[in-house]
């Protein structure tokens, strides 16, 4: 696809939707639904400036720390659990139990345990975002190819070298599939953790706007969240293409033949 075409595909639908929204809300006086231009203005005045540094950046910081820990811990624990049979048998039923608990209910609990601070919010993000990465890694380690495994063994590739050159790269497709889910879970939990007990952050601000009937501002907050999600997806795509170029190439070839 040519770059021009790609840009057209990327922006095509959003532009159509905005035009549609503009047409439908033309002449509308509904207090709860702002018009596109009005919203764009609000978006600019509300979020660019002081609020960006006081609410958006801290939120993003907590999200980043939470996600990094969730992904890192998920991979390390997943490799450990996946490659140790007794540990896997021991932990697997319990992991399913913990995973089944909806992380938002942990917010009040973590508030009591950790207190109302950044650590609590990061902990909430980790507690929800770790599962897809962790469980996918465990599953991936279990399913490594037996012939590749024999190759490693016959060449004496063991221990750390085995993890680094064989297991980790072999599991990367599953890890990345997990990371993709973790990103959206992390974003959701970032907002939720700020809705409960907080005096700053995106979640807090959006709820605050809603309570004060600052409707266009509230909408603009939702748009900001959407933009953050989009940004995460783009970063993910960028990283994934680099890390898994071999995987996509391999898949393309096996599909051709």
């Amino acid at each position: 696809m040519s770059p021009l075409k790609r840009v057209a595909y990327f922006f095509g639908l959003p532009i159509v939707l905005i035009v549609l929204w503009w047409a439908l809300s033309f002449g509308s006086t509904n207090f709860f639904v702002p018009k596109p231009f009005e919203l764009a203005q609000t978006l600019w005045t509300t979020w660019i400036g002081e609020r960006f540094f006081e609410d958006v950046l801290p939120s993003l910081g907590r999200l980043a720390v939470g996600l990094l820990f969730a992904i890192g811990l998920g991979i390390v624990l997943g490799l450990l659990i996946g490659s140790t049979r007794w540990l896997r048998n021991l932990l697997e039923p319990m992991l399913e139990f913990f995973r089944a608990i909806p992380p938002p209910v942990l917010v009040p609990l973590l508030m009591l345990l950790i207190g109302v601070n950044d650590s609590m919010k990061v902990a909430v993000i980790i507690s929800g975002a770790i599962w897809p990465v962790l469980l996918n890694t465990v599953e991936g380690v279990r399913a490594v190819d037996s012939v590749l495994n024999d190759s490693c063994r016959s060449y004496g590739i063991r221990g750390f070298a085995r993890i680094r050159y064989f297991v980790l790269p072999a599991v990367t497709p599953q890890i990345m599939a997990g990371v993709r889910q973790s990103l959206s879970i992390g974003l959701i939990l970032m907002v939720i953790s700020e809705m409960f007990a907080s005096s700053s952050g995106l979640g807090f601000t959006i709820v605050q706007f809603q309570r004060n009937f600052a409707i266009p501002e509230m909408w603009s907050g939702i748009v900001v969240l959407g933009l953050i999600g989009l940004g995460l997806a783009l970063i993910f795509q960028f990283v994934e293409r680099r890390v898994l170029h071999w995987y996509h190439g391999l898949k393309e070839i096996t599909h051709d033949s």
Partner: protein, 286 residues
């Protein structure tokens, strides 16, 4: 018993490079046991190229996994240059049949060949030289930066061979390495193995189900019975050392040998197996 008396008497020099004694492998399966390999005894002298041929399902892969230390035998011993094999030995390399699954798809051709050396902490300069030489010897010095999956099946198997060559093993085990490539590529790869064997003086045990291939490649052919496996015959291949696909395969002696091996395999398929099956059934009933 099933072992024939045609075993070639070979002068045993000192310690054989590879020595298999009374090897037996019984798999435990739900509802009983399956004896894949019953009793195998044979030696490989240093620098020999020996082919193991047997009917399909004769436990060839099982045998190779036991010899390479990837699987534990039920009884018997495997010795490499006089020392017992209990796990994958350092001076042994294996080339598997499934080339597509034995190379790392996330590494380039060069990376794949280099990895075992890197793992052994071979210094960088020496490593580079070894990898270059190995890639050249299999005719792949033009694609070091490609990924295995970008290459044809035959070329992928060449990469696996190059990896084994660069590793400089004393013994090279090959488990039906050419079973999944087309006939023409196969002929090229067979000649490659002969060439590499002569250049390196490595001891090769080549497992195959292809009778012609075993006679063409080997200095000796060990014919296995069908499962539970014993050595049916140990046959010396007295063909000239210089072999080529056209002339060697047209030699009357080649024809004789291949017919002989073919007959042996047919005998292996029919003969004692029926008795063994009835014996097994009796045992199972107990």
């Amino acid at each position: 018993m099933t072992v024939s008396d045609t075993t070639v008497n070979r002068p045993v020099k000192t310690v054989p490079m590879l020595s298999v004694r009374g090897l037996q492998k019984i798999y435990k399966v739900p509802g009983g046991e399956v004896e894949a390999v019953r009793d195998l005894t044979f030696d490989l002298a240093e620098g020999e190229l020996v082919c193991l041929v047997g009917p399909s399902g004769s436990g060839k892969t099982t045998l190779l996994k036991c010899i390479s230390g990837l699987m534990e035998q039920t009884s018997g011993t495997v010795e490499l240059a006089g020392s017992k094999v209990t796990g994958p030995p350092k001076s042994m390399a294996v080339v598997f049949q499934e080339y597509g699954r034995s190379l790392f798809p996330w590494m380039t051709v060069r990376g794949n060949v280099e990895l075992p050396l890197k793992n052994q902490k071979v210094p960088k300069a020496e490593r580079t030289a070894l990898v270059d030489a190995a890639l050249k010897s299999v005719g792949l010095d033009h694609v070091p930066k490609s990924y295995p999956w970008q290459l044809s099946g035959g070329m992928q198997q060449r990469v696996a061979i190059a990896r084994a060559v660069a590793y400089r093993p004393q013994v090279l085990l090959m488990d039906e390495p050419f079973a999944a490539v087309d006939a023409q590529t196969r002929a090229d790869l067979e000649d490659l193995i002969r060439t590499i064997w002569k250049q390196l003086g490595v001891t090769i045990l080549f497992v195959t189900h292809d009778i012609d291939e075993s006679v063409y490649l080997g200095e000796r052919v060990i014919v296995l019975s069908s499962s539970p496996t014993v050595v049916q015959e140990d046959l010396k291949i007295d063909l000239p050392a210089e072999r080529d696909q056209l002339n060697t395969r047209a030699l009357p002696r080649f024809m004789e040998l291949r017919s002989h091996v073919y007959a042996e395999i047919q005998r292996a398929k029919l003969g004692p197996v029926t008795e063994q099956i009835t014996a097994q059934r009796k045992a199972a009933r107990k």
